[in-house]
Assembly symmetry: C2
Homo-oligomer: 338 residues x 2
C-alpha cells in the first residue's frame, strides 16, 4: 500500500495540475506544498506512483500528470466534497425561487450549474415513471377528437391529440374523465396500466372503442416519455477544455446532442450521493477525456431525476461535487414547494 506521504504527493500533484494545467515537477511541488522533504525524495515517491499507474509523464523529462486512476484515488480517498459558502447557498436559492414553471426551474438550474462549475451542465426533467399522477384532463376539441392532458406531481405536463374511431359525446367524456381520475390520481405512473385495464367495460359498446383508444394513448405517453428529456447549458465552457481541443471537443458536442447517450450516462449513477465517472470509466467513447459528476434530485426523499456536469478530467472535483450536490438539494426543495 502507498504510504501516507505518497498519497500527499498525489494529492498535491492533482491540485497543482488542476490549477496550472501543466505537468508538475518535483521541485515545484516541494516549493508550493510544505511536504517537509526534498525534491529528491518526492522524485522517488513519484516514481512509485507512476509504477502503480496513478500518474504519468507526457514525455520523458516533463513533469507528471494524474491518470484516470490517479483522479479516482484522489476523489475516493484524498478529497472531500467542498461545501458551498453561505452566500453561495443564498444566491442559489434566490435564483431558483424566481422560476415560474417547471421549464423555468430546469432552465434556471442548468444556467446555475454551468455558472457555478464553469462546465457543461445537464439537467434531466423529472421522470414520468417515477412520478405520480396529479390529474388527467380530457378535452373535446371536435366530435371525434380529444385532447389528453397529463399533469404530474412535479408540475410536468404532457399532452396528446387522440383521433377517436367514433364520435364521443360530452356525457361519456365527462364520465371517462371522472372514472379515470378517481382511479389514477395520486398513483404512480408505473401502476397506471394495471389500474385502467378494466375501464372500457363500464361503457356502452359504441363508446368502448374510443375509450380504449384514449387509454392506449395515455399508456403510450407514459412509455414514450419514459425516454426522458434533458436540458443542456454552458457549452461555451467547452472552450476551456484544453489547448488541443478541436479534437476533444467534437465528440463531446456530439455526445451532448445524443440525448440517449446522456440519459444513459446519468442513469448509470446509482449511488444515493454524488457520483463521479472519470475518463475511461465513461462507457461512451467520445467522453473518454471527460469526467461526469452527477447526482439524483427529487421533490421528496426519492430521486425523480438526475442532474450533473460534464467537464475535463482535469477539473476541481471537490468544488464541482459541492456545487452539484447543493444545486440538487435546492432544486428538490423548489419542486417540493410547487
Amino acid at each position: 500500500m502507498l504510504s501516507e506521504r505518497r498519497l500527499q504527493v498525489l494529492r498535491a500533484i492533482v491540485q497543482d495540475y488542476v490549477g496550472t494545467e501543466e505537468p508538475v515537477g518535483s521541485k515545484a511541488l516541494t516549493e508550493r506544498h510544505s511536504l517537509g522533504v526534498s525534491p529528491a525524495t518526492v522524485r522517488n515517491d513519484m516514481a512509485a506512483l507512476e509504477e502503480e499507474g496513478f500518474i504519468a509523464q507526457p514525455h520523458t523529462s516533463a513533469g507528471r500528470i494524474p491518470t484516470d486512476k490517479g483522479y479516482r484515488l484522489f476523489v475516493d480517498k484524498l478529497a472531500g466534497v467542498k461545501p458551498m459558502t453561505a452566500p453561495e447557498r443564498r444566491a442559489i436559492q434566490n435564483f431558483l425561487e424566481g422560476a415560474v414553471d417547471l421549464d423555468d426551474v430546469v432552465a434556471r438550474t442548468v444556467r446555475l450549474l454551468a455558472q457555478l462549475t464553469r462546465q457543461v451542465a445537464v439537467v434531466q426533467y423529472p421522470s414520468l415513471t417515477r412520478s405520480t399522477v396529479r390529474h388527467v384532463e380530457l378535452l373535446s376539441l371536435a366530435p371525434a377528437r380529444v385532447m389528453l392532458v397529463l399533469i404530474t406531481d412535479t408540475g410536468r405536463v404532457e399532452q396528446r391529440m387522440v383521433d377517436c374511431p367514433a364520435p364521443f359525446g360530452e356525457g361519456p367524456l365527462a364520465d371517462l374523465r371522472a372514472r379515470l381520475n378517481s382511479k389514477v390520481a395520486g398513483r404512480r405512473f408505473s401502476d397506471v396500466p394495471r389500474l385502467v385495464e378494466d375501464l372500457p367495460d363500464a361503457f356502452e359498446a359504441e363508446d368502448r372503442g374510443t375509450v380504449s383508444t384514449v387509454l392506449s394513448t395515455l399508456l403510450e405517453t407514459l412509455v414514450e416519455e419514459n425516454e426522458e428529456r434533458l436540458m443542456i447549458g454552458g457549452t461555451a465552457n467547452l472552450t476551456r477544455f484544453g489547448h488541443d481541443f478541436p479534437l476533444v471537443i467534437r465528440p463531446v458536442l456530439e455526445a451532448l446532442e445524443e440525448q440517449v447517450v446522456l440519459l444513459k450516462l446519468l442513469g448509470e449513477a446509482k449511488d444515493p450521493g454524488v457520483t463521479v465517472r472519470i475518463g475511461h470509466e465513461n462507457a461512451h467513447e467520445g467522453l473518454n477525456s471527460t469526467s461526469v459528476v452527477s447526482v439524483g434530485y427529487g421533490s421528496g426523499g426519492e430521486a425523480v431525476a438526475k442532474l450533473g456536469v460534464v467537464g475535463p478530467t482535469r477539473m476541481d472535483y471537490p468544488g464541482t461535487m459541492g456545487a452539484v450536490r447543493a444545486v440538487a438539494r435546492y432544486v428538490g426543495q423548489i419542486l417540493a414547494e410547487s
Copy 2:
C-alpha cells in the same frame, strides 16, 4: 459598375473558397472554371474587385477570399436558391411526419436542419401572441389552488399554478371555465386581454378576487411566454468552422446560449422569403464571423415563428437557403395538419 466577367470571377471565387476553405489564386480559378481568359486578366479583375471591397487577401502573396460585401453581392445577384431534390423532399416529409407532439416536431426540425445544412440549427417555438386560443382549461387541485392550462392552435400547451385568495368551489370554477372558453376560444392571443376584461363582474363578490387572480395569471402567461422559446441543435458542426476556431467558436457558443440574442436575430428577418445576414451585418458581436439564414414558418399563410441556421460566412448559401426554405415549408404543413 462591374462588368459581367468580373461578376463571374467573384462567383467563381466564392464557390471555390467555400469548397476548399483556402484563398483562391488566379491560376487555380482559370483552371477550374472556364472563364475563357488567362490568369493575368483574371488578376486584373481581382485587383478591381479588391478595390471595390468585394474580396481581400489575408496577406500579400496569398490568394483572395470574399469579404462580407462580396458574399452579399453573391447572395443577392449571383446565386439563386438551390431547390431540394425530390428524394430529399420526401425524406424531409417522412422524417417530420413521425412526430407525436409539438415538442417532437420542433426537435425533429432542429435535427433535420442541422443534418441537411451541416450547421447549427435554431428553431423557434410557434409564437403565442400570433397564435389563437384553442382551449383554456381550469383544474381544481386543492380548495384554493387552480391549475390553468392554455392550449394553442399550434398544439402548444402552457400551464400555470394559481394560488387563489379564497377557496373556489367546483360550481364557480366550471362557470368560469365555460365563460372563459366561450369568450376566447378561436381568438387571437393579442385580443384576449380585451375580451376577458369584464368577466369578473358576472361572479359573486366572494369569488371575484379569485377570478381576477386567475385572469391575471392568464394574461401574465401570454406576456411572459411572448419571450419565446427556442431549440438548438447541431452544435457539433461548429467544429467545422475553420482552423483558427478556438477564438471564433467561443462567442458563438455564448451567443447561442443567450436566447434573447437569438430571438432578436431571428426577429430581425422581416422578409417574406429567406433572409440572409452575413458577418458584420449581424448586430451581435460574437456572430460577426458567422452568417444567419432564416425564414418564417407557419401553419397557415402567416408566419407564426422563425427557424434558421447559423454557420460560417464561408457557407454554401444556395444549398443552405434551399434547405431552410424547404424545411420551413414542410414544418408549416405538419403544423397545419395537427
